[in-house]
Symmetry: C2
Subunit: 364 residues, 2 copies
């Protein structure tokens, strides 16, 4: 192991994510000297003293090795270069699973939402995730209860690639009940963490973790979120990174959709209803364009005005003289005659004994 | 009755709404001469011949009088001047009901949507309408089944003013099943039509009627609309008139909300979830501003960073030495001590025998 890799692993033990003092040192002196300074209780770094005394980086690395986790650092082929867009990238990534991170996450979407979700939200998250991976996009989420788990499961259900970014250490399955889910994710995807093995999940780590989910992906979709959902924090990070954000609407009577509606109203998120619309939003221009659905198209659609007016004047039952059509439409009899002929050609009007009516089943 | 009023009543019998030939004549020669030219089969106006032979304007006026309807024309105090924004305003309005139209419609909102609506949509339309009239806004709709009827009924349920704009003649209750509903609307509001008494509802008249709903109001709300709903036509008219358009979202699994979602996605409509948001959109700037709801506010919200980090490190059960808090937070012991003191003041942290824990019920 290089000194650089060891030092960055040590930083993930010694310093919380986004510690601005450490970020400044790292930028100026590099990881090896930054760790040296922290370990030698340099002036201004005394607050790390207690952690320095407790840290055992070699043990962390051994613990990681035992579960097949590796340390990924900037400069590695596997390093997801999108992370460099962050004001303070993670010191390193602890990673498990076979997915080549940089290439495997290039086409990826974050699907996030409330822990306390509804059946509607869980179904939507699963369908969205399945639709995304089916179209070649990896689904990234946080491994939490609710929408996160539904998104991971939806991706797995169609043998898709999905990635869980954890707030705890890579060796701590959190929540514990999701151990089997995370194991399934590891078969083809990856679990990632920026904190050292053994680290406990803490609120600030969840918030820092959220920025990784936003940064690793081409865009973020919020499926269900009440007004205080942590997933809105992920969406806010994505906005800050100029990544597109989508939100799935729901019943306005459901507080579980209130956060989605709020972000759509504020313009921070684009309303999406399916995977195609998500891909249109996050995909490369042109490559992933998607045509809006329209209603069913009828033969009568797009008729010239005169013919449309004649057609609507015709009865379905009974039949009507040409002069009567002229009264109803205020079209001259000659214009009515021409329109009727054209409608007959289209199979939309029928003449019987000189009287006209609509064809019975004019829809095609 | 003035010649002008009689002539405009006659036009509503002789010519369909938005007939461009008639509009041009009206602009150039006024209503009286336009009617004279149509009745004398002037060159280019032969197509009106059949209607001229059938028309009986005095009979139309007598039929209207019998049901208490009047003819409102431009220049009347009652004429809704917003109609003048239309490329082709109605020739006249046939009006029933006590509402003074111009002043009564100044603060009005169109609430429209699909005939085939869901229970969710009907409930939302009724609640939205009730919320609007409670706040002093009249609710305008088309008197149709589904969302229209729900909106009218919601307004009536709280004794609000509501207005139905009909595609049929003012003396034809259409749909017939809505006779009792329209009678209730007439107690405080109004029914309006731009076509002569006795006129049948026809598809083109519904489309023309939709432009009146959009034009009469300060803005239009679409509650539920499939991709071909006529209410989207009303919304399109409102966009053309530079009136704000709102749409209520729903489950993405419901085709009844697909038209709403499409218009929100396209930017033609603003997502709204309640009457306040509608009023914020259509109301006068400043006068009707509305504050976005936020989630519940907790005492721990907005704590300075150090205190927030200390608070989350504290256990709820058991208690923790100050030094341990320092390890978990990477804050210097002195900073931890200051933060703990402040948290104790706020009632968020408790110290017992020199060890700290979270207060049991820190929420306020």
């Amino acid at each position: 192991m290089t000194d650089e890799r060891w030092a960055r692993a040590a930083l993930s033990r010694l310093a919380e994510p986004c510690d601005t003092t450490v970020a400044a040192l790292l930028e100026r002196f590099g990881a090896v000297e930054t760790v040296d300074r922290i370990r030698s209780h340099a002036p201004g770094l005394e607050r790390f003293g207690a952690r320095v005394r407790e840290a055992n980086v070699d043990q962390d690395l051994a613990n990681a090795r035992r579960i097949g986790a590796r340390v990924v650092i900037p400069g590695d082929d596997a390093w997801p270069t999108r992370l460099d867009d962050l004001p303070i990238p993670p010191w390193c990534l602890w990673a498990r699973g076979p997915l080549p991170l940089e290439s495997g996450l290039r086409r990826s979407v974050a699907v996030v939402g409330a822990r306390m979700c509804t059946e509607y939200g869980a179904r939507l998250a699963a369908e969205l995730a399945a639709g995304l991976v089916t179209r070649g996009w990896a689904v990234v989420s946080g491994g939490a209860f609710g929408i996160d788990a539904a998104a991971h499961r939806g991706a797995l259900a169609v043998d898709g690639v999905t990635v869980a970014v954890l707030a705890s250490g890579i060796d701590r399955m959190y929540p514990a009940a999701h151990g089997p889910l995370l194991e399934r994710i590891l078969e083809r995807g990856a679990c990632l963490s920026e904190t050292a093995p053994g680290s406990a999940p803490m609120k600030s780590r969840f918030l820092h973790r959220n920025r990784l989910i936003a940064a690793l992906t081409a865009g973020t979709v919020v499926v269900e979120a009440d007004l205080r959902s942590g997933s809105l924090n992920t969406a806010r990070h994505a906005v800050g990174l100029a990544r597109p954000v989508a939100a799935v609407p729901g019943p306005v009577t459901s507080m579980s959709s209130a956060g989605c509606h709020q972000r759509i109203r504020s313009g921070e998120a684009v309303l999406v209803t399916n995977a195609e619309e998500v891909i249109e939003l996050v995909g490369e221009m042109g490559v992933d364009a998607y045509e809006e659905p329209s209603g069913p198209v009828f033969a009568a659609d797009g008729l010239p005005s005169a013919e449309a007016r004649v057609l609507e004047a015709l009865p379905v039952r009974g039949a009507m003289e040409l002069d009567r059509v002229s009264v109803l439409t205020t079209l001259a009899p000659l214009a009515v005659r021409a329109a009727l002929a054209r409608l007959e050609d289209l199979g939309l009007a029928v003449v019987e004994e000189g009287r006209w009516r609509k064809a019975r089943a004019p829809r095609v």
